[in-house]
Amino acid sequence: MPIVTQPLLFGRLPPRTRKLLFALFVSAICLLFAFPVLWLILTSLRPESGVYYVHRGTEFTLGNFLEVLQDERIEQAFANSAIIATLATFFSLLVTVSSGYMLSRFTGPAARTWFGTIYVFRCVPYISWVLPLYFVAQSWGVYDTYLGLLLPHIAVHICFFSWLMKGFFDGIDPSMEYAALIDGCSRWGAFLRVALPSAIPAIAALGVLCWLFTWNEFLFALILTGNRVPVITVVMAQFVSEMGLRWNLMAATAVMALVPAFLLALFGQKYVVRGLRL
């Protein structure tokens, strides 16, 4: 009986044809996922009159981008989104890394309670947090401020990413930390000087995920911010107004919003892959 080492799909065809078919298949899948983005880019390059006929006509323009860039509110939104994403990433990593470490290394009532708490919060549907958060933000006087948006983001990150971090630390052999304890470190010293440096790829991966998550977040931003702190996702949605739909401008803004996320994903990809494999 022959030993089958290759998938039998198109097994009867010659190898070159099979490779070609495979390449076509993969390209088709990629295209499927990339199609909305391509359509978006195409739309952003069309004049307002052309947005409903993106597939027809040959008129292309950069005017949408120029128009959007002249809008101060959009510039401000970009800055706000970047600042909030960066701050949220920084502060949530501070908590997430140590909480993941605790979940991985310690057993006992404190760790169990913490584990249970974030588990429960994780199970609550995302959208059901928003309304209570709105009231809390109002009563604390942080509605429509950086803080008002930062705190919920950090909380969400802690609940979601502590688990990932626990997984990373589970993969790091604890005997290195034991050696450090014997070599003169305190428990904190062993964490900061030995465990943490070994987890840097994982922390970088988590940082990338946190940043992208906050940058792309819409729901919290929509409910918890008003005019004082515009963020990019909300501003983008505001092109849909009573005055009509400005698809071309929305697309241009969206394309610009894609760029930082795309760059970060591109350069962070190797960390994410390495970190998740750790």
Binding site: S175, Y178, A179, L181, I182, G184, S186
Partner: protein
């Protein structure tokens, strides 16, 4: 330099798991003690309690004159080698070696001198700039040894340091650890599940089982006079043969009999055996104490049928059948003409017989 004293040491994990039971042990200054036993016997837990990595449920640990029960590991002045080396992956070998001394705020010049000395002893000079992951297993474990000796601690603790190495390297590192101890005599506790390591390295061997110490003694004493059937079976390779046997009086002499086997017991062993006359016991014979001997005296020999022959080049191992029992015979000359199916006559000196109580398993 310091002795280690464990008194009534206990470790409980929850209510159900009693990992270490009333361990009493005194380790003299500069002594090398090997803790040996099957996995889960509590030897590693005992070591980790000495290191301070594991809380003590009850009892007392002294290093030198100091009770260290509640001291954190860093204040106990011990150094430890781990099974998986536990080198700091993000640091160079040099920084790994320096880590402990830097924590003690030793001057860099002295650190360098200490590392030079250690590197000299262990042949690490060419590796100092590398990262641990660029080293082989043997090299990593040498670095781990180096990390211990630069600190010049009161006590060395070894937690199965050779288990991750291949057989050849293991033998080599065993020699290296032995040489190191001769060169820098430091009180050492060495945990292993490999009785060969325990026997070759330990000044004394501590055999543990299910959390309790079974026997403490020099390697030779533990081998020659095991206190119970467990120790007898655990120490020595190939493992001791055990047979169910009966004691009977033949004239004035005592005989041990089993199907296919009738051995006269010499006077030196007969006294302990007298109360067992007419009763069943477990007879133990080490494979290396059985010899092919046609001309042996009556009452010291028995016949057996060869079932399996294992040629090792330097010697042969035989598996033979006597009555219903299977015995292993070691140290048969490699050139001996033996084939499966052959009938052979085996000889065992009466002084080499071991007797165990079938219920308590204690030796007598």
């Amino acid at each position: 330099m310091a002795s280690i004293t464990l008194s009534k040491l206990n470790k409980h994990y929850g209510a159900l798991h009693h990992a270490v039971k009333d361990v009493d042990l005194t380790i003299a200054d500069r002594e090398f003690v090997a803790l040996v036993g099957p996995s889960g016997c509590g030897k590693s837990t005992t070591l980790r309690m000495i290191a301070g990595l594991e809380d003590i449920s009850s009892g007392e640990i002294r290093i030198g004159e100091r009770v260290v029960n509640h001291l954190p590991p860093r204040d106990r002045d011990v150094a430890m080698v781990f099974q998986n080396y536990a080198l700091y992956q993000h640091m160079s070998v040099y920084d790994n070696l320096a880590f402990g001394l830097r924590n003690k705020r030793v001057a860099e010049r002295e650190i360098k001198a200490a590392i030079d000395r250690a590197a000299e002893i262990l042949g690490l000079h060419d590796l100092l700039k590398r990262k641990p992951r660029q080293l082989s297993g043997g090299q990593q474990q040498r670095v781990a040894l180096g990390r211990c000796i630069v600190r010049n601690p009161l006590v060395f603790l070894f937690d199965e340091p050779l288990s991750n190495l291949d057989a050849k390297l293991r033998a080599q590192m065993r020699g290296e650890i032995k040489r190191l101890h001769a060169q820098l005599p430091t009180t050492s506790v060495f945990v292993t599940h490999d009785q060969v390591e325990a026997m070759t390295l330990g000044d004394r061997v501590v055999v543990m089982r299910d959390g309790s110490v079974q026997q403490v003694g020099t390697p030779l004493a533990v081998y020659a006079k095991p206190v119970n059937r467990f120790v007898a079976g655990f120490i020595g390779a190939p493992a001791m043969n055990f047979l169910d046997a009966t004691v009977s009086a033949v004239g004035s002499a005592l005989h041990v009999t089993a199907p296919g086997l009738d051995l006269a017991v010499g006077e030196e062993r007969a006294r302990g055996l007298t109360p067992w006359r007419g009763r069943r016991l477990v007879l133990g014979i080490r494979p290396e104490h059985l010899a092919l001997g046609d001309g042996g005296p009556l009452g010291r020999t028995f016949d057996a049928k060869v079932e399996v022959v294992e040629q090792l080049g330097s010697e042969m191992l035989l598996e033979v059948r006597v009555g219903r029992a299977r015995l292993t015979v070691a140290r048969v000359a490699a050139e001996a003409q033996v084939a499966p199916g052959d009938q052979v006559r085996l000889f065992v000196p009466s002084g080499r017989l071991h007797f165990f109580d079938p219920e308590s398993e204690a030796a007598f």
